[in-house]
Symmetry: C2
Subunit: 410 residues, 2 copies
C-alpha cells in the first residue's frame, strides 16, 4: 500500500457520485417527520438479489436493526433492498424496539416484493426512544413501485447532524467488464471504529462471489472506516454493507482470480473516500486530520499509534488553533501503549519535520503553522521498527462539537 | 471498600490543608519568571531523610525529571527534599534537557545540604522547550536556609492551568501515635492515568517502613489518581510521591502490623480527595463527574467500565448541557470492551434510575435533570456479574476546554 495512502484519491467526487447508481440499483428517500425538516427514510432496491457482505458495531448494546441483521442476513447472503431511517436509532429500546425493527424490515420487503431476510434494515439518531412506527411505515408506503433512481434523496435521508451528503464512486474494469462502485455514508458524531455511528452502503454492478466480496470488504473496512474517529464513542448502530448485483456481466470474480486485486483496490478507494468525508464532517469540525504512520513494528502497532494521535483531544485542539504543538503529538504516541522505539521517531506536519532524534527539529515556525492552515491537515510519523503502516482519519475538536452535543437530545 | 467510595470524604478541606505541614517538613515557592505571573518554583524539605515511595508516568516519552528520578531515587529509597518547577515540562528536550534536570537536582541538593539522590525533581508545563535554567537556579538560590513553612506558596508554585490550589489532609492515629498526612497536587489538562499530568506530593510524620509505604501508596494511586481522566491524554511528566518522616515517633509500621490498614486507609482518603479536586478542576470544567460501578466481574472490569463512561466525550458534553441522555452512558459501557452481561445493568443519575432491563426506566425527567444540575454529578452503574467495583472521576467537556487548548502553547 505504502505511500499510496498519502496520494490524492482517484475516486469520483461526492458531488457527482451522489447522482450515480450502478446498473440494476434504485434508491430514494422521503421526509416523514422523524426529523423536523430533512428526509428521514431512505431505501435502496436491487433488480436482482445481490451478493452482499456486511459488518456491524461491536458495541455490547447493538441496536435493534443490528440484531435483526445478525439474525436474518446470515440466512441468505443476498440482499434485494435496504431500508434506513434517520432521526431515531431504535437502540436500547428493548423487545418492543426489536419488534419494530422486524416490522420495518417486513413492511419494506412486502412493498418491493421480496422476502424479509433479503432486506437490510438500519437506523441512526437518538438512542433510547421508540421508533415512531406510523411515520416509518408511511415512508415505506411512499416507496415508488416500480422504484426510481434518486440516489441524492437516499444520501440525504440517512444523515443526522452531518452537514453534507457523503458519496464516492469509482469506475473500474475487472476481468474485461466495465463496472461501477458507488458508496453512500453518514457519520458526524459517536464516530469510532468497530464501527463508527456510521452507516455506509456500497453498491456495484460487478459480479463478485460471496467469499471474495466478504474478504475485500472486510479488508477495506478495516483500513478505512475502522480508522476513523471523531470522538472515540462507538455507536450502537454502526453498519457497513456492500451489494454486488453482477449485472455488469461475466462470471463472479473469486478471491484467487487475477482481477480480484483490482476490484478490492477500487472497493478500498471508495471506502477510503467515504471514511475521509466522515472524518472531515465530524461534529463541529473545521479540519480533516490525516495521520499516516510508517515503519512501525507491524500494521497493528501502526494503527494504534495513528489512532492515538488522531484521537488525542490535545492534538485535536492544537490543530483547531493551528498551533504546531508537536509535543502533544509525540506525547500521544508515547501514551498509546504500542511497542516502538521512541528514539527512532520523526514527526512531520505536512512536509515540515518538527521532531527527530528525541527532540524538536530545527524547523521554521511559520512553515509549520502554514501546514495547519488548510482544510486538511496531514501528520506523518516515521518509525524505524519495521514496515508496518496505517493511516487514520479524524477531525479537530472545536467549541462547535461541544455546543452540538451539550444539547442534542433535548 | 464498597459503598464507602460514595460517601463524603472525611479529609480536611483544601482551604485548611494548604496551610498545614506534618512535623519535620518545610515548604515554599517563588516566582522567577518561567510563567508570566504566578509562582513557578516550589520546594519541600524534610528535616530527616524520609522513607519515600514514588510512581511515574508510563508514557514512552518520560520527561527528563522522570528519567532522573528513575535513575537516582532507587539508589536511596529516602528523600530529603523536592524541587519542582511549573511553566515548562522539560519534556522531549533530549540530552541537554536531561542535563538540565540533573543540574536542577544537584543545585537544590547543595542548597539544602543533602546528596542529590535524596532530592526528587519534577517539572510541569509546556513540552519541547528547554528549561530556562538561570531562572530555575535563581529560584533555588532563593530557598531560605534554614527553611520556612509556607505550604500555600508551594501549592501555588506547582500549578499550570489549574484554577485552584489542590490540597488535602487527614489526622490519623496509628499504633498510638498521632500523625498527620498532608497532600498537594496539580492537574488540569493532559490528565489520564498511568499517571495523569499530574503531580502529587504526600507528606506524613508517621513512621512507616519502606515496603509498607510503597504498598499502601501504590494501592492508593491505583484506586485514585489512576482513575482520573480529564481528556484521556497521559502526560510525559506525571509523578506522585509520598514521604514519611517518622517524626511522630514509634517504630516504623510494617505491612503486617495491625495498624497498617488504618494508615493505608488515611493515605487513600487523602489521595482520593486530591484526585477529586484534579477532576473537578479539569480544563474548562464546570462539573466533577463521579462514576461508580458495582457488581462487575472483577475490579478490572469495573475500572474499564467506569473509565469508559467518564471519558466519553458524548457523556461529558451531555453532563455539561445537564441533559439526562442516559443512552450515551449505556453506549459507552457497551463500547468499553469490558466483559459484562448487558442485560443485567442498571444506571442511575444521582438517585434516579434511568436505565434497567435493557431499556429506559420509567423516570421523572425533571428529577433526572436536577441530578445533573449541581457542581458534582454522580453516575452509578450496577451490574449483576460479581462483586468487582471501582470509582472513576472526570469532568464535563466545555467550550472552555477547547479555547484553553487551541492556543495554549503560543
Amino acid at each position: 500500500m505504502g505511500k499510496r495512502l498519502l496520494t490524492e484519491t482517484p475516486v469520483i467526487s461526492a458531488e457527482k457520485a451522489v447522482k450515480m447508481l450502478p446498473q440494476g440499483f434504485y434508491a430514494g428517500g422521503v421526509h416523514v417527520g422523524i426529523k423536523r425538516k430533512r428526509r428521514d427514510v431512505g431505501w435502496i432496491v436491487s433488480e436482482v438479489p445481490a451478493v452482499s457482505a456486511a459488518v456491524y458495531t461491536q458495541n455490547a448494546y447493538p441496536a435493534a436493526p443490528i440484531v435483526v441483521m445478525r439474525e436474518t442476513f446470515g440466512q441468505s447472503g443476498r440482499l434485494s433492498g435496504v431500508i434506513v431511517n434517520s432521526g431515531n436509532a431504535n437502540a436500547l429500546t428493548g423487545e418492543a424496539g426489536l419488534a419494530d425493527a422486524y416490522a420495518m424490515q417486513r413492511a419494506f420487503a412486502e412493498r418491493i416484493g421480496v422476502r424479509p431476510q433479503e432486506v437490510a434494515v438500519a437506523s441512526t439518531g437518538v438512542i433510547g426512544v421508540r421508533l415512531p412506527m406510523e411515520r416509518v411505515l408511511s415512508g415505506i408506503a411512499a416507496v415508488p413501485v416500480p422504484p426510481e433512481k434518486d440516489p441524492e434523496a437516499f444520501a440525504e435521508a440517512i444523515l443526522t447532524t452531518d452537514t453534507t451528503v457523503k458519496a464516492a464512486a469509482q469506475a473500474v474494469t475487472v476481468d474485461g467488464k466495465e463496472g461501477l462502485i458507488v458508496g453512500f455514508a453518514k457519520g458526524s458524531g459517536m464516530i469510532r471504529p468497530n464501527m463508527a455511528t456510521m452507516l455506509a452502503f456500497l453498491l456495484t454492478d460487478l459480479a463478485v462471489d460471496e467469499a471474495a466480496l466478504t474478504r475485500a470488504f472486510r479488508d477495506a473496512v478495516r483500513r478505512t472506516f475502522n480508522r476513523v474517529s471523531v470522538d472515540t464513542d462507538a455507536s450502537t448502530n454502526d453498519m457497513a454493507l456492500v451489494m454486488a448485483s453482477g449485472l455488469a456481466g461475466g462470471a463472479p470474480i473469486t478471491a484467487d482470480h487475477p482481477a480480484y486485486e483490482t476490484f478490492a483496490e477500487a472497493l478500498f478507494q471508495v471506502s477510503r473516500a467515504l471514511a475521509r468525508s466522515i472524518a472531515g464532517d465530524g461534529e463541529g469540525a473545521t479540519k480533516l486530520i490525516e495521520v499516516a504512520v510508517f515503519g512501525a513494528r507491524d500494521e497493528q502497532a501502526a494503527e494504534t499509534l495513528a489512532m492515538a494521535v488522531v484521537e488525542s483531544p490535545l492534538v485535536k485542539t492544537a490543530v483547531y488553533g493551528e498551533d504546531p504543538n508537536w509535543g502533544r503529538i509525540v506525547a500521544a504516541l508515547g501514551k498509546s501503549g504500542a511497542a516502538f522505539d521512541p528514539g527512532g521517531v520523526r514527526v512531520a506536519l505536512g512536509d515540515v519535520v518538527v521532531f527527530a532524534d528525541g527532540a524538536a527539529a530545527a524547523f521554521d515556525e511559520a512553515a509549520a503553522k502554514a501546514a495547519l492552515s488548510g482544510r486538511e491537515v496531514k501528520i506523518t510519523v516515521e518509525l524505524t521498527d519495521g514496515d508496518g503502516e496505517a493511516t487514520a482519519w479524524g477531525c479537530d475538536l472545536t467549541e462547535g462539537y461541544v455546543k452540538i452535543n451539550a444539547l442534542y437530545r433535548t
